[in-house]
């Protein structure tokens, strides 16, 4: 469904991605783990064309999207919940959701809203509240919900667990599984929380200094001593 081959991305002269190959098949949850500054977020942003890959190719369902403008890529059926949530703080929950849908026609809005509210009942209770007044977990749910309003086939999530309490993280990951299984949305998940991410994902990639250093099924990576040493020891039990 999504295939990156030999992708190099630069910030000015700094090479953030040094030839990344990665595939995501339809129906999967794929996770990308790695330390701070490894290039995880850059990889997600490169898929969306902001910044663009300087070398290599990004293909989505056969389309070459390497040089496409971001808003056109999004229209092909890729939705992104960016790092740090980035909901619209002064707009109400409903308005935020409408922003997610409006470039794809508002014909299905009510229907999609029902679907979203079933997934995130708390958002229904808070629908007329301003985004900025929600709690961190609720804001993250809103960010995911907003991305889902465009009826994507591929959902890119950038660190949904960032700054959230363990119980809320669990809840968010449960919801991601539900989105993947019931709504048949393919998910590419970037996470620092390697334990939860690898348990959830079908497959995983480990990114080190802009290169993929390891890949395998979630369970394999979870059992791998190197991964354990680098990302799991002293962390979650």
């Amino acid at each position: 469904m999504l295939r990156l081959s030999g992708v190099h991305t630069f910030y000015g002269r700094i090479e953030a991605l040094r030839g990344v190959d990665l595939t995501v098949e339809e129906g999967e949850i794929v996770t990308l783990i790695g330390a701070n500054g490894a290039g995880k977020s850059t990889l997600l942003m490169t898929i969306c064309g902001n910044p663009r890959a300087r070398r290599g190719e990004v293909r989505f369902e056969g389309h070459d999207i390497t040089q496409m403008p971001t808003h056109d890529i999004v229209k092909l059926g890729i939705a992104q919940s960016p790092e740090g949530r980035r909901i619209f703080p002064r707009m109400s929950v409903i308005e935020n959701l409408k922003m997610g849908a409006q470039n794809f026609g508002l014909a299905h809005f009510d229907e999609d809203l029902d679907r979203i509210f079933r997934l995130f009942p708390i958002l229904k209770d808070r629908q007329s509240q301003r985004g900025g007044t929600l709690s961190g977990g609720q804001q993250q749910m809103l960010a995911i919900a907003r991305a889902l309003m465009s009826r994507p086939r591929l959902l890119l999530l950038d660190e949904p667990s960032l700054g959230l309490a363990p119980l809320v993280v669990k809840q968010i990951f449960e919801t991601i599984r539900e989105i993947n299984q019931r709504q048949r949305v393919t998910v590419l998940l970037v996470e620092q929380n390697a334990y939860h991410a690898l348990r959830l994902a079908h497959r995983g990639y480990v990114l080190v200094n802009g290169r993929i250093s390891m890949s395998g099924s979630g369970a394999e990576l979870l059992a791998n001593p190197e991964v354990r040493a680098a990302y799991l020891e002293g962390g979650h039990v």
Binding site: C48, N50, P69, T70, H71, V74, K75, A79, Q80, S81, P82, R86, I87, F88, P89, R90, M91, S92, I94, E95, K98, M99, G100, Q102, N103, F104, L106, K124, D125, R126, Q127, S128, Q129, R146, A147, S150
Partner: protein, 436 residues
């Protein structure tokens, strides 16, 4: 008990602090007043004499001393009341504001509609109201760009100028009527807005402000220097007056023409034209407001507001930021163009002097003071910034002083603008709503 009297011996320190504070304020006042008020130069033809006015300095210093004490006491009491229940008071105020709005807005529009027929309304009042309405329109136009889309535009006056000159030139050269020129001027201004927008909209914040500032100046400099077309610094005089659907407002209409007063069997009065102009700008203003409110509820309006809040999020939601910004720029410029052509027909004479940077600054101040994105706020701020200085012409000496003091007070009490309440554009029916 002794609540009303000043603190006694036990609470000496606040009293001392109060006096100390007032003393410092008085000292500053003295230092300022000594050169500013203490000396006056008298030009007696051949020589310049110096006159001393030290009693003024004394009055100012003593006045500031006691004024400061009163201010501090009042402020402290207000502060104490506020810190008790900030949330409840704030919410209550917002609710009161909403209720008032529901009642005040129609009342305001009704007042505007019948204004020319009120007993006190004479030529001066109607002319002043027209003048205020021009600024309301400019404020609403700029509100789209600055308030909704969050693009800081310091050269808005350029579009105002383009509208004015388009009307003057089209009407004088081709003899087009006002109603034909109006849309043309709007389109021209919008077109220039897009032309300017293309290269500069990748800039943000301060950088955009500087470039738009430059654009405003470029337009003014072109108007000054392009003598053959714009008349240079002399401007364009004899700009055609508007007609009432072909009926001119003159005492001696040209051959074959019927004047307004003849057609309606009235005595000629120059007031007719002023009333007509007033209604034209009122209609333009109401249209501007209706269009803006409608746009806000449409996807494009929501996209403007979303763009103001977070551009990166907008991109990831499939919104094309360039197009969105360009539409905001173009529509804002269009309203500026409309206002400009109305200005030209009202004045009958235009010159580059009417389109200096200070105009941009006043319009921007209206938008910011009113509360970014607030339509009612623009009206209130216009009354404050345009009407008040006009009414206070007798105190011309103190105008800037009052203006500055008012600005400081607003910064202290309402840093978010006078009316900054933002109403959501989407709401579901109560049936489908949740617990809130």
């Amino acid at each position: 008990m002794a609540a009303t009297t000043l603190p006694g011996a036990r609470e000496d320190s606040p009293l001392v602090a109060l006096l100390k504070d007032a003393g410092i304020a008085a000292a500053i006042a003295f230092l300022l007043a000594l050169p500013l008020m203490g000396f006056q130069t008298l030009d007696s033809g051949t020589t310049v004499d110096l006159q001393y006015r030290f009693h003024w300095v004394a009055i100012a210093t003593v006045g500031v001393f006691f004024g400061r004490i009163v201010f501090t006491l009042l402020y402290r009491r207000a502060g104490a009341a506020r810190s008790k229940a900030p949330g409840i008071v704030g919410q209550g105020m917002a609710r009161v504001g909403e209720g008032l709005g529901r009642f005040l807005v129609p009342a305001f529009i009704l007042f505007a509609l019948i204004l020319p027929f009120l007993p006190f309304a004479d030529r001066r009042e109607i002319d002043l109201a027209t003048y205020v309405l021009i600024y309301v329109m400019l404020g609403w136009g700029l509100n789209i760009v600055v308030g909704l889309a969050g693009l800081l535009d310091l050269g808005y006056v350029a579009f105002y100028a383009i509208g004015a000159y388009s009307y003057a030139l089209l009407a004088k050269t081709f003899g087009f009527s006002f109603w034909l020129c109006l849309p043309l001027a709007g389109i021209l201004a919008a077109f220039l807005g897009i032309l300017l927008g293309f290269p500069v909209l990748r800039l943000r914040g301060d950088y955009l402000a500087i470039v738009t500032l430059g654009f405003g100046e470029i337009i003014r400099v072109i108007l000054v220097n392009w003598q053959p077309v714009t008349g240079g610094p002399n401007g364009i005089s004899g700009v055609p007056r508007p007609t009432f659907f072909g009926l001119p407002f003159t005492n001696d209409p040209a051959e074959g023409e019927t004047a307004f007063h003849e057609f309606f069997n009235l005595d000629f009065a120059s007031l007719h034209r002023f009333v007509f102009l007033y209604y034209v700008i009122l209609a333009l203003v109401l249209v501007t407001n209706a269009v803006t409110l409608r746009l806000r509820k449409m996807p494009i309006g929501r996209a403007w507001e979303a763009l103001r809040e977070d551009e990166i999020a907008c991109r990831s939601l499939g919104i094309n930021p360039t197009n969105t910004k360009l539409t905001a720029f173009a529509i804002g410029a269009m309203f500026g163009g409309f206002a400009g052509s109305f200005f030209a027909t009202r004045q009958g004479f235009i010159s580059p002097e009417s389109f200096t940077f200070i105009e941009s600054a006043v319009i921007l101040a209206i938008v910011v003071l009113g509360g970014m994105g607030s339509q009612a706020g623009v009206v209130v701020a216009t009354l404050f910034l345009v009407l008040l200085p006009e009414l206070a012409r007798e105190f011309a000496q103190f105008r800037m002083l009052i203006f500055g003091a008012a600005m400081v007070l607003i910064m202290v009490w309402r840093p978010q603008g006078l009316l900054a309440h933002r109403a959501p554009t989407v709401s579901l029916g109560p049936g489908s709503g949740g617990s809130r």
